[in-house]
């Protein structure tokens, strides 16, 4: 590919990103000091190489997936951030009151706002958390039925809090529950969450056999509670979810519908999770999420906090801007 052809590809990608209209040869003559015919020739070879596409025989060119890829890998130069944008992010990041993960979520919201794309913050998977504390808190009795209700609250070493409210069967003594929770707290603090059920069975159960009357039911109670805790979805937070609605590529209701369903589907969204450490760009099919979108994502790790940051937008995304923003945020967090 010649020099001019590279430059041409870049201009076409950038023009298309801005206008979302096929780019014609004529519209580029000013930039290249040559005739439209010359540009057409180059366009033709770029098309042969697979970097450009046409919507129909006589329309302008649009970048192919391969074209975007080449642009991102070789042609794009990082965009300077405006002072204003940096300022917005810094004021949040430098607020010491805020815990890192909250600050990040706020920042991603702002990035959604700046870019008009949708942001996703995916927290660390819970299995890497360890047990910090479990408490049993009795609630007011249900007047009507006389049922006993308690809420079990679990806190992990990274400060994630989960809770579950349950009616407990009459046979179980409240005091025994609480006592057991204290025993668990003493013995099991620091255990990874996904190992807790196991150790509960192997270590706690024998231990409380003599102390607790209904040790079997009690143990089951905790077992099922922990089961629920580990099952519950790791936190996924969206920013600017409704920005999707503005993509012109989703003007047909059916496509829109499809996309929205995908975003509602936690399982699917969680597949976006990454452990790649760079800021990485996935275009169209590469996303394994939806062939019409681009996902730019990265993974951050700052002490105890870690997670995935991602921006979802159309393939004609402002790659330079988003990559720069994400890089800035990632570096700032990790410094």
């Amino acid at each position: 590919m010649g020099d001019r052809q590279e430059a041409l590809l870049r201009e076409i990608v950038e023009a298309y990103i801005q206008t979302f209209k096929p780019v014609s040869s004529k519209s580029l003559v000013d930039l290249f000091n040559c005739s439209s015919a010359t540009i057409r020739n180059d366009m033709a070879t770029l098309e042969d190489l697979g970097y450009l596409e046409k919507e129909h025989t006589s329309s302008g060119r649009i970048p192919s997936e391969k074209g975007y890829r080449y642009y991102v890998d070789n042609l794009m130069h990082p965009r300077e951030l405006t002072g204003e944008d940096i300022l917005k992010l810094q004021t949040i990041l430098s607020n010491n009151q805020l815990v890192v993960s909250d600050a990040i979520t706020k920042c991603m919201e702002i990035i959604s706002d700046i870019t008009h794309y949708t942001s996703v913050v995916i927290g660390p998977s819970k299995s890497s958390n360890t047990l910090k504390q479990i408490s049993i808190i009795p609630l007011d009795q249900e007047e009507a039925t006389g049922d006993k209700r308690v809420v079990a609250v679990l806190v992990t070493n990274k400060g994630i809090v989960e809770n579950k409210q349950v009616n407990i069967s009459r046979d179980i003594n409240l005091r025994e529950l609480i006592k057991t929770s204290e025993i668990i707290n003493k013995a099991l603090v620091g255990t990874p969450l996904d190992k807790v059920t196991e150790r509960l069975e192997l270590e706690i159960k024998p231990k409380i056999k003599d102390v607790i009357e209904r040790y079997d039911e009690v143990c089951n109670f905790f077992s099922s509670a922990f089961q629920d805790f580990t099952m519950s979805n790791s936190d996924v937070v969206f920013g600017g979810k409704t920005n999707i609605l503005d993509f012109k590529e989703y003007s047909e209701p059916d496509k829109l519908k499809d996309m929205i369903s995908k975003l509602e589907n936690v399982e699917l969204v969680k597949r976006i999770e990454t452990d790649e450490n760079d800021v990485n760009v996935f275009i169209g099919e590469e996303t394994e999420f939806d062939p019409d979108v681009t996902i730019i994502k990265t993974h951050y790790q700052a002490g105890n906090d870690e997670g995935t940051l991602a921006i979802i937008g159309p393939k004609r995304m402002e790659y330079d801007k988003v990559v720069t923003l994400l890089n800035f945020l990632k570096n700032y967090i990790e410094k």
Copy 2:
């Protein structure tokens, strides 16, 4: 309005609900043993009275908002529930393990499923909850910065759990924080959440003045935590949110977009909350939410649990079915 005209109105409403197409005079002759002309005459008077509308001069009739209203108030007869539907709901409701509020949420999901509308469960506003317990749980120290982090966990009498993670300033002693939390627990349990900040200032602050060194900062810490707790949105749970996407009335992307934004907007959704005790139907403009939808809602109260149940669908909603379902659920809960 004559007898036949009433019957006619009912048939038109029900036909329109099913087909979503303007109803013609001809299509009704079989039901009324009279000529289409007669029906046309009656239609005309119903239109004069404001119960019917036309899309254009020569199309069939569709019910007006007033028409739906009349139908709901006077013409609709409650629909028998199928055994299957009842069974689905009962299996969930009779599961004693489940706390009432969880059971309800599950039921509303099922109702969404049966009806293809969207359901909303709005929990009780938090201000009616009272403080049950507040705990301060220290987390692992941030390695890099040496910041102290804690998570504050609040539990209310109704079992709602809120938590907030914060970096605490170096001046504040961790032990003092925890001690204060214990004092609060002793003194303030049973206080309505919206009164807590006040009593914190008036009662706790003087009390800890001598015991706690940095009592001012410590108090502020709790103040701001409680502020956050009361502010945070009371729980709103949707079922079948994406069912909206199937409404034919939202085939234009713009309308769809508008509706989705509305559903995302918690403030707006919370306005649906009701304290009316019957199952109530709000049609179009009456909803004060969106002129194109009908909202059927009710309020339940079962011992400590209370909340609002609502179904959102198009104006051409299967009123009889939804009202019956909601009634069933409400009665079952409250019995």
